[in-house]
């Protein structure tokens, strides 16, 4: 098909889709309306289990099984990247020479790295209280490590980030989530049911039964997954060269 015919097809199909979408939008409940039956029930259930952040309660208690599905997608995507971006037979590793970075940039990276790591951990730890949680905090902590690459050089990053350890951490935290789920079954409840631990005092770090534990498992899983992912991309972009032997 030539590009012109393809463009016409896109315009035709897109136009039809646009008309249907606009028609659907006009029949949706008005934006900002007061009727949210599921939301109201979710808030009540979260408060009954002493969880201050209702979103964390939905993610790690009321719909914890869905979060397991999300975690599986994450795990599979990382596995796919690792397989796709492995070193091929006709490639060799060529460590890049250390690069020159302006002194203020280097200093900034070294100062902000620990701050960003602590912020990531803070976001994970307060997941069931204030906005935040394992998903967000994990990404922040993993991104923070890569300030070492941005502010210093690749060799420095490799020293503070042993990829094998993070691969093991990824698998361990994914299985920790499953183990916590099965612990619910063994205790006589259902898979991932939040009946294992006491609910604790409202608005404290240990409140919410198993929610903080599942949250921590997801935080570790996301952080390790992102580190492994970026490590593969950095390997390809910086280190792996075409042609066998050097």
């Amino acid at each position: 098909m030539n590009p012109r015919a393809r463009l016409w097809l896109v315009v035709l199909g897109g136009g039809g889709l646009a008309a249907l979408l606009v028609a659907a939008c006009l029949r949706l409940p008005a934006f900002g309306g007061p009727w949210h039956p599921y939301g109201d029930r979710a808030v009540r259930a979260a408060l009954a289990r002493h969880i201050a952040n209702t979103i964390a309660s939905v993610n790690f208690d009321q719909r914890a099984f869905d979060t397991m599905g999300e975690m599986t997608i994450l795990f599979a995507a990382v596995l796919g990247c690792v397989v796709l971006l492995r070193q091929a037979r006709d490639e060799h590793r060529d460590p890049p020479e250390p690069c020159e970075v302006a002194a203020p940039v280097r200093r900034y990276a070294l100062v902000v790295l620990p701050i960003a790591l602590v912020t990531g951990l803070y976001v994970i730890a307060h997941g069931q209280l204030s906005p935040g949680g394992g998903f967000q905090g994990g990404v922040v902590a993993a991104t923070a490590l890569h300030l070492m690459y941005l502010g210093a050089d690749y060799a420095a990053l490799e020293r503070i980030r042993p990829v094998e350890a993070f691969e093991i951490g990824d698998a361990l935290s994914a299985s920790a989530y499953l183990v916590l789920g099965f612990a619910g079954v063994l205790a006589g409840g259902a898979f991932l049911a939040n009946t294992l631990l006491p609910y604790g005092t409202f608005n404290t770090l240990s409140s919410g039964g198993t929610v903080p534990l599942l949250n921590a498992a997801i935080g570790m899983e996301v952080a390790s997954a992102v580190v492994v992912l970026l490590a593969r991309f950095l390997d390809q972009a910086v280190e792996i060269e075409e042609g066998s032997g050097s």
Partner: protein
């Protein structure tokens, strides 16, 4: 009076229309892209349309976030937490899917030496 009701009518559907527009624009970019990395970026734009739609459905006028670390429960109306939880996981998982597609693109570039979908089709056919 008439113009005022027209304004409220627009604000009542505007978020949905923006979501539909963002989705369609992303699709257009995907269909006409000449570079696979650009296409992955367009897919990210399509994904963001779903976030906008979900959160728009859950919004309540005058509501605030259902997070009770700094307000007393029941003191203010809150928005729908269920759609927020769906979107929250979607954002992070969407990013890893983007990474998977970029990995595929890098692999295609290695195998075929190009990331232009049209040139790739010629190589095969």
């Amino acid at each position: 009076m008439g113009s005022e009701s027209a304004v409220t009518a627009v604000t009542h559907v505007l978020p949905y229309l923006v979501a539909a527009y963002v989705f369609l624009v992303g699709c257009y970019g995907l269909a006409t892209s000449r570079n696979l990395i650009h296409a992955v970026g367009c897919l990210a734009v399509c994904q963001s349309a779903t976030y906008v739609l979900l959160l728009a459905v859950g919004y309540r006028d005058g509501g605030t976030a259902p997070v009770f670390s700094d307000i007393r429960p029941g003191s203010r109306p809150v928005v729908d937490p269920v759609v927020q939880a769906l979107t929250l996981t979607d954002v992070v998982v969407g990013a890893t899917v983007t990474a998977l597609l970029l990995a595929l693109t890098v692999q295609i570039a290695k195998r075929h030496g190009t990331v232009d979908p049209d040139e790739l089709r010629e190589l095969r056919g």
